[in-house]
């Protein structure tokens, strides 16, 4: 498990790095073994073999394998004990490889900012990690494969005609709901879709004269009326104002917390390091709870409505803004901070005079973007009783009023696009 001495490492960290490299190596091989058995063997190879075994003319070898394993893709489950065994075998292998000090784990653990001074050393280092690179590549490939299986990627589904027809009908109804351009767009799309249907029918007819032709799209377009727009726009404004309130009240809180959430300003004493950990813990907890859950929590607490929605968005905005703000603080130029510290200024004054002027522009950009996100999220919040246009949206969607859904989506689009336009202008102006 030793990392050779020509790999540059801070000397008093070398032991820890070697140890963590060893542990990573064990975990990597445990993971690889799991993926190989669970995904490659269990999910890909075994069903493939089973396919031969239950074929109309079963292959003897396949039947033998399937019977000996008592495998049936309909019932079989990959048991926890099997997973444990496989992982243990993998990690045993990993610990053997880890002892050589050449694997992916030691490689990752040895990465540091230290520079190599001797050109010969850099060649030796490159040779030393040549196996580790292959292992890293294997790790990446296996992870992609696992992802592919777990997301159940089925490209063939995308060309099935039944699905395409339903999709087309929905698109037409949504298009019909668009303000002003709804009706002409509906007829244009209907024409294009029917042209595609005719094309499909004539092609299938060429190959198979008895094939049943696909029906053409025959739909009626009844656009939303003026009173519907009135109601929708007032709900939309409710969402916009809700988002504004959430953003506006989140900014000062985030502004203060961000200083404690920045590594470079909290290094100097135990108390500030503690504050740093506390702030980071807080924002990570609140951020991992989705705004929609917060909205449910608040609507249970203070009742369904826009106020609960605004509070939910505010909690989420505070933590997201603290994260972005504090990362902006971590990127500031240290020079002015040093200069003001050297005058005997207090930490607060240093933050105010040396840090704030440097981060005020990114802050503005983040804040406007957060408002933009909040407007969009306000519609989602409405789904769970947070008020605004979201409530209306979920209602229409539940009733399958797709034309109305199209109208609402178009209105939301107009607001989002306007916000984007305005924020671009503001960002341009304050540079």
């Amino acid at each position: 498990m030793r990392i050779p001495s020509f790999v540059p490492l801070v000397e008093n960290e070398r032991r820890t790095r070697e140890l963590s490299g060893f542990v990573i190596e064990i975990l990597v091989w445990g993971y690889l073994a799991l993926v190989l058995s669970r995904i490659v063997w269990w999910d890909i190879a075994l069903p493939f073999i089973e396919g031969f075994a239950i074929d109309e003319q079963p292959k003897q070898w396949a039947v033998k394998i399937i019977e000996s394993l008592a495998y049936d893709s309909r019932y079989s489950e990959f048991s926890w004990s099997a997973a444990g065994t496989v992982f243990a075998v993998g990690s045993l292998l990993g610990s053997v490889i880890g002892l050589s000090g050449r694997g992916f784990g030691p490689w990752v653990a040895s990465i540091s900012k230290l520079q190599v001074n001797n050109p010969e050393d850099s060649i030796r280092i490159r040779e030393h990690w040549s196996y580790a690179r292959i292992e890293g590549l294997l790790l990446l490939l296996m992870t992609i494969l696992t992802g592919w299986v777990l997301t159940r990627v089925q490209l063939s589904k995308m060309t099935e005609l039944v699905g395409l027809q339903s999709f087309g009908r929905l698109v037409l109804q949504l298009a019909c709901g668009l303000p002003v351009i709804g009706k002409p767009l509906f007829f244009a799309l209907e024409g294009v879709f029917n042209l595609l249907v005719m094309l499909n029918n004539s092609v299938t007819h060429l190959f198979d004269a008895k094939a049943e032709p696909l029906p053409a799209f025959v739909l009626e377009c009844v656009p939303s009326d003026a009173s519907y727009y009135g109601n929708a726009v007032s709900k939309l404004l409710e969402s916009v104002y809700l988002a504004f309130m959430a953003t506006f009240f989140a900014v000062p809180v985030a502004f203060v917390l961000a200083f404690f959430g920045a590594r470079n300003l909290t290094r100097h004493s135990f108390t500030t390091r503690l504050a740093y950990s506390a702030v980071r813990l807080y924002i990570n907890i609140t951020r991992s709870i989705e705004p929609i859950i917060w909205a449910i929590l608040f609507s249970v607490w203070i009742g369904i409505g826009p106020f609960a929605g605004a509070l939910a968005l505010m909690v989420h905005s505070v933590s997201s803004l603290v994260k972005q703000y504090s990362e902006a603080i971590e990127g500031v130029d240290d020079g002015p901070i040093e200069a003001l510290e050297a005058t005997g200024a207090s930490h607060v004054a240093v933050a105010w005079y040396a840090v704030v002027p440097q981060v005020i522009l990114p802050y503005m950009a983040f804040t406007i973007y957060r408002w933009d996100i909040n407007v969009r999220m306000a519609t989602i919040i409405g789904l769970v009783g947070g008020g605004g246009i979201g409530g209306l949206l979920i209602q229409e969607q539940g009733l399958a009023h797709w034309t109305q859904v199209g109208t609402l989506a178009a209105l939301i689009f107009v607001v989002v696009w306007t916000m984007d336009f305005l924020s671009a202008k503001v960002r341009e102006a304050i540079q």
């Binding site: 008093n12 050297a342 005058t343 607060v348 004054a349 005079y353 002027p357």
Partner: protein
Amino acid sequence: MFRPRSHAPWKSSSVESSSQSSALNDPILSLRGVEKVYPNGTRALKGVSFDVPRGSFVAVIGLSGSGKSTMLRCINRIHEPTAGEILFNAQDITKLSSRELRQTRQQIGMVFQHFNLIKRRDVLTNVLSGKLGHIAELPFGGIFKRWPKEWVEEAHEALKLVGIPDKSLVRADGLSGGQQQRVAIARTLMQKPKLLLADEPVASLDPSTSNSVMQYLKILNEKHGVTVICNLHFLSLVREYATHVVALRGGEKVFEGKPLDITPQWFKDIYGEQAKEVEIH
């Protein structure tokens, strides 16, 4: 207060000015075995010791990476020294509490190679920020306090002294490098420092601007009685401005003496065999 530049040898400055009170004869600053080890294990300073006589202009020379900047930053504890003593007016800086440290820092000015101004603020605010140490004990570090009128006048005076009285309302990043360094000097003037640490103040300036900035440091030294410790690269500037020289190599002091004592052999010891002196006038 005007103080004649001493041309006596290093340690004998006290003998020459024996008529003055003993407090004034003590060195303003003494380093005793100062060490600095960075968290990544680099040993930047390996036990540096020397005295800085009151009113002197000390040049610190040495290659890049020899520990010059680290040493200056250890003196006002922007970087925390790992071991050793730093006596400023006979008080060990390394043992000060953070409040005492802030009070001591008010007396120690600092200028930097990259000026370190607040770029998006006007020159006046930058100069006034030199006074922040005086209001550090107010709630919130005094950020809600308006600048007193007399401080603003003082800031204008300081700008006049460094020759840019008309720039006070210009944003700092709109100035040339030389002007920015003069703003930085004006900022330390607001502190009324006893000691000025200058970290390669002219390294990013052209030769003629360099000379004018050095002139301002000289005025501070001679007319205002500020002791100056200045990291420099050009020996010609050292010979022209400094009264004392300390040379560092690899974190150790390798030379201490008068500028005129730097012989070609010393020069090679400090900068290595390959080095050749580059002139700047």
